[in-house]
Symmetry: C2
C-alpha cells in the first residue's frame, strides 16, 4: 500500500487533500547530487545501470518531497535498442549519425516485440525493481516513453531540429513511408511501456514533445493515430496514462479524443481554458513556465496561486511544470515550489482561502 | 492608383476577385537571383543599400507574381541604430556581443525619436522611394518592424534562444526593468514604422515572432501593452497594420484585443477555428506550413484547398505561409503556390466549386 497515493488519486480524478506535484526532468543537472553521479559516467551508461538509475530517481523524492518518482531514463533508449546508434552531448543533446530517411533505412530497424524488448533492455525491469525497493511505497513510480511521432522526429532529423524540415519533408512527400515507420514505432513503444507496467510502475507518461509543431490536421493524421495505437495496445492493469505534448493549445481536443487518463499541458495554455475545453473526464497536469523557478519563492507563489485558481478546486489536477526543469534552476526554488503547491492547495481544497 | 490592390482590399475586408497572397521572407535565399546579390555583399550592408534593397524586394514580385511586395530588411536594423552592435551569420542567425541585461545597459541605448530615426537610418526612406519607383504601382508595398517583446528577446538573449531563459529570468525577477525597456522599444518602433508610413508604404506588419512562447497571462502583461502602444501611437494614414506572432493559438483573443487590421497566423492553428474565435472584424493572414512547399504542386494544391475551404469565401483572407519560407524551398514550388491560390480562390469566390 502506498503511503502517499495523492498522485494516483488525482490521475483518477478522485478527491485529494492537496494537489500532488512532480516535476518533469526532476532528476537532473540542476541538482548537485545528480551531477556528482553524472560526472563519473556517461549519460547512456547511466541510463543502463540500474543502481545508478535508482539512485538518481530517488533524489528528487528525498530532496524535494515530490508526490511521484519518475524512472530516470531517456525517450531514445528504445530507439537505440532498435539499432540506431545515438550520442548525447551536453550542448547539442541527442544525435543519430545515420538518420532514417528511406525505406532501406527503416528496414534495418529492429522492431522489438515484448521479449526482444526485455532481452535488449534488461536494465529496465531491473531498475524498476530497485527503485520500487528504495521507494518502499512512499510515492508511486511513473514510467515513460516517447510517443511515435516524437521518436520519428529524432530518428529522421538525426538531432534536435529547429524547423523539423526533414520529418516534414518526408511527411509531405512520402506519407506512406512515414505512416509505415510510425506504425512500427508504435508497436515498439507499446511493448516497451507494457514491460514497464508489468515490472511494476504505477503510471506511465507518453511524451509527444514535438507533436505541437504540427498543424492540427497533420497532428490528426501523423501523431494521434499512433498515440491511439499505443493506448489501445496496452494492458494497463490500472495504470493511468499521461499524454504530454508541447504546444497543446492547438491540439488539445484531438489529444483528448485519444482518451488518456491525464493530459500534460505545456505553459502556453491557460489551464482554466483547457479544463473548459476538455470537460471533466480527463485529469490535467501542469503547467507552470519552468522559468518562473528563476524567481524567488514569493513570485513563485503568485504564479502557483494563479494556476490553482484557474484550474479550480475540482478533482483531477496534478501540478507540474509546463516543460522540463532547466539545468540552471536553483534547487531551493524547486523545493519551495513543492512546498507552495502543497500549502496553497490544502487551503484551496478545504476552502480556507 | 495601384493596378492590383487585392491585398489592401483583403486587409480592409472588402470584396476581392481572388485571395491575395504574399510570402513571409519572399525575398530570400531560396531564390538564385537573391543569392547572386547576397554573395557580393554582407547581410547588414545589403539591408542598408537602397538600390540592393529595391532590387531584392522586387524579385518575388517579378518572379512569383505575389500580390504585395515587402521591403527587404531585418527587424534588428532599428536595434542596431539604437547602438547595439549586431552580427549575422548564416548558421546562428543574428547575435549581439553585448546583450542588455541591466539598467546601465539599457541606459546606453539611444531611444530614437522620429528625426533621429531618419538620421540614423536614412536608407529606409531612400529604399522605399526606389522600391515604389520600381513597383510602378503594380502591387502595394508592405513595411515592417519587430514588436517590442520580440526585439527585447533578441536584445536580452543576445542570440536566437531555445528556452528564452534570459528574457524570462528578467521577466520574473526584474519586471520593472523589463517593462521600462519594452516601453522604450515601443517608442522606437512607433517612430520607425511612422517613418515607413510617411515614406509611402501601403501597409505595415508587426512581427511578434517570439510572443507565442509566453503563457497567455505573460503575453498580456509583457507583450500586448507594447503592441498596443505602437498601434495607438501611429498616424496610420489608411495603412492597415498586420500583427503576426508564432504560436498564436494560445494568444489569439489577446492579439485581437489590440485591434490590428489583420492578424497573421502561424500554421499551428486551424484558420476556420481562428475565424470563429476572432469574429469578422479583423482580416486573417496565413497559414500554410512552410514545409508543404517541399512537396510537388498537386500536394500543395490539396493543402491550399483545405485552408481556403476552412476560412470560407467571406472577405478578409490574405494567403501566406505560417512562417517564413525556408531557404531550401524549390522556387518553382513557391511559384506554383501563388498560381494555385489565385486559381482556387477565384473559383471559390465565384462559387465555381
Amino acid at each position: 500500500m502506498l503511503k502517499n497515493d495523492s498522485f494516483l488519486k488525482a490521475c483518477r480524478k478522485e478527491h485529494v487533500d492537496f494537489t500532488p506535484i512532480w516535476i518533469m526532468r526532476q532528476a537532473g543537472r540542476y541538482m548537485k547530487e545528480y551531477r556528482a553521479i553524472r560526472e563519473k559516467v556517461d549519460f547512456l551508461t547511466m541510463c543502463k545501470t540500474p543502481d545508478l538509475v535508482a539512485e538518481v530517481t530517488l533524489q528528487p523524492v528525498d530532496i524535494l518531497g515530490v508526490d511521484a518518482a519518475i524512472m530516470f531514463s531517456d525517450i531514445l533508449i528504445p530507439v537505440e535498442a532498435m539499432g540506431m546508434k545515438v550520442t548525447f552531448t551536453e550542448k547539442k543533446g541527442p544525435a543519430f549519425a545515420n538518420p532514417v530517411r528511406s525505406e532501406s533505412g527503416a528496414e534495418q530497424l529492429d522492431i522489438l516485440d515484448y521479449s526482444k524488448s526485455e532481452e535488449k533492455m534488461p536494465f529496465i525491469r531491473e531498475a524498476i525493481k530497485l527503485i520500487l525497493q528504495s521507494l518502499d511505497n512512499r510515492v508511486p513510480l511513473i514510467g515513460f516513453a516517447g510517443a511515435p511521432f516524437t521518436l520519428a522526429t529524432y530518428m529522421i532529423e538525426g538531432e534536435t531540429s529547429r524547423n523539423f524540415s526533414w520529418i516534414k519533408r518526408v511527411m509531405y512527400t512520402q506519407p506512406p513511408f512515414l505512416h509505415n515507420l510510425l506504425d512500427k514505432i508504435a508497436t515498439v513503444v507499446t511493448h516497451y511501456l507494457q514491460l514497464q507496467i508489468d515490472s511494476g510502475v504505477h503510471a506511465v507518461q507518453l511524451f509527444d514533445t514535438w507533436a505541437g509543431y504540427l498543424s492540427p490536421d497533420d497532428y490528426k493524421e501523423f501523431a494521434l493515430p499512433y498515440v491511439q495505437k499505443v493506448l489501445n495496445g496496452l494492458n494497463k492493469k490500472g495504470c493511468p496514462v499521461i499524454l504530454f505534448a508541447n504546444g497543446v493549445s492547438s491540439i488539445l481536443e484531438h489529444m483528448s479524443s485519444a482518451s488518456p487518463d491525464v493530459i500534460g499541458l505545456d505553459w502556453r495554455v491557460d489551464i482554466g481554458d483547457a479544463r473548459k475545453r476538455v470537460g471533466d473526464n480527463v485529469a490535467l497536469q501542469g503547467n507552470l513556465d519552468p522559468c518562473v523557478l528563476y524567481a524567488e519563492p514569493p513570485v513563485i507563489k503568485k504564479y502557483v496561486k494563479d494556476i490553482l485558481r484557474k484550474h479550480g478546486p475540482g478533482p483531477g489536477h496534478i501540478f507540474n511544470l509546463g516543460h522540463g526543469i532547466l539545468p540552471d534552476t536553483p534547487v531551493e526554488h524547486a523545493k519551495a515550489l513543492v512546498e507552495i503547491v502543497h500549502e496553497l492547495s490544502s487551503k484551496h481544497v478545504i476552502g480556507d482561502e
